[in-house]
Subunit: 108 residues, 2 copies
């Protein structure tokens, strides 16, 4: 039996679990514009490796933040798309943008 501290399941931790790390929010942000194929995502995030992209997409799909649709063609064609839950991250990204802007302002 594990000892779970009182704050182990607060909304901040939940969100960190779902969206933490270097890439997930960047991927989600790209997908807001509409469904994308793997290679399209790769081009829109130039410094991500293929492995990371595949791995993070899998996690996003497992968390029900995105869906994967394979067209069963050859060469393979697969499209990734946000779910409703995934789209709910938009205000969060907006808040991040605003935070970054206010941080970089010269004011106090």
């Amino acid at each position: 039996m594990e000892k779970i501290p009182i704050s182990a399941r607060c909304p901040i931790r939940t969100t960190l679990d779902l969206l933490g790390g270097k890439w997930k929010l960047l991927i989600l942000f790209q997908l807001f514009k509409g469904p994308l194929r793997l290679n399209e995502l790769r081009k829109s995030i130039p410094d991500i490796s293929e492995k990371m992209l595949v791995q993070e997409l899998k996690i996003l799909v497992d968390s029900n933040l995105a869906t994967r649709k394979s067209f069963g063609e050859v060469p393979p064609r697969v499209e990734y798309k946000l779910t409703e839950k995934g789209k709910a991250a938009m205000p969060l990204i907006e808040a991040m943008r605003e935070f970054a802007i206010s941080y970089e302002a010269k004011e106090p």
Copy 2:
């Protein structure tokens, strides 16, 4: 000379650099309620280690998101407090809370 991809300095990455990781947002959240001493922070985040707390606070201070005020007493008394830039993270935390709530809802 380093090669910097086109998207290296977007607001998402800036925010991730400043607030990423397991602890910074939790610490900031505690400090919204008002200035706190190290031990008070430790009690309000039961599962953080002293090293992590000190280390993360130092980073937050270096980033101008918080300030450190030593009272020069013995035993030491030090207070940590948010700066204006630090307070600007509040909407972000609010957005995280809302995201977590919507994620955990049973709807689609």
